[in-house]
Symmetry: C2
Subunit: 112 residues, 2 copies
DNA sequence: AGCTACACATAGCGTCCCTACCCATGAGCG
DNA sequence: CGCTCATGGGTAGGGACGCTATGTGTAGCT
């Protein structure tokens, strides 16, 4: 899968990963790896800036904690973040519906 | 739908629109509008450069024709373009499967 | 002492779509 | 005739955003 395909959908992935639990950045990356069956292997340079964007946008808040001498920044969704997640999910559904339709939802090419 | 969501999937849309027929740029835009139920309204500044990219990549070829005194550039898929289209469709399926899995398309999250 | 895993972070780059324009022709209208 | 609109193609410049590469520091193992 070409990595650029994620453009515009990364926020949704991060919000969904944080839905119902709090995780630190590193754990988010691992959760996405597992949740995607290994298909998503996001580099830290992608995830950390994205989390800061989400924090700036008010969709997540972070808390520092120290575990085993290592500092972790743990993120959790805000109310606005949950709203954003719902919006992202709905936008995703609409998006896939539209693209599926154009790519041939009507069976015009279905069996080649 | 936020327009940026298309990023990385525009080529697939254009190739799919040209699948089995030849169209000129303007007609492609209209075909996408109709094929998407009005959801996709791509500006010419998006479509024309994209078509030139596809031509440079060898996925489409263009022919000039004159209809009613107006010059049209008509595009059609090449063999490589059809191959690319198949690849795009398969990449799209994989992509949606992965994202759906994370976003919880299967009801895993459905009722929180 | 050196290496690996954990954990966070920034800088710079390239891609790619968008906004905003520009050009040309033909038809309809005043 | 001159204006505007629809049709049709095109470029320029910018901004958003994910990626690559790199840097920092701790802990634990050998």
């Amino acid at each position: 899968m070409k990595p650029d395909a994620l453009r515009g959908h990364l926020d949704a992935l991060l919000l969904a990963t944080l839905d119902g639990r709090e995780l630190h950045g590193y754990a988010i990356i691992e959760a996405l790896q597992q949740g995607s069956g290994g298909a998503l292997d996001l580099p830290t340079g992608t995830v950390y800036p994205a989390l800061r964007r989400l924090e700036r946008a008010g969709h997540v808040v972070s808390d520092w904690s120290t575990v085993g001498g290592r500092k972790r920044r743990t993120y959790q969704l805000t109310q606005a973040g949950q709203r954003a997640l719902r919006a992202e999910r709905s936008a995703w559904r609409e998006f896939t519906t539209v693209i599926d339709g154009v790519l041939g939802g009507d069976g015009k090419w279905a069996q080649t």
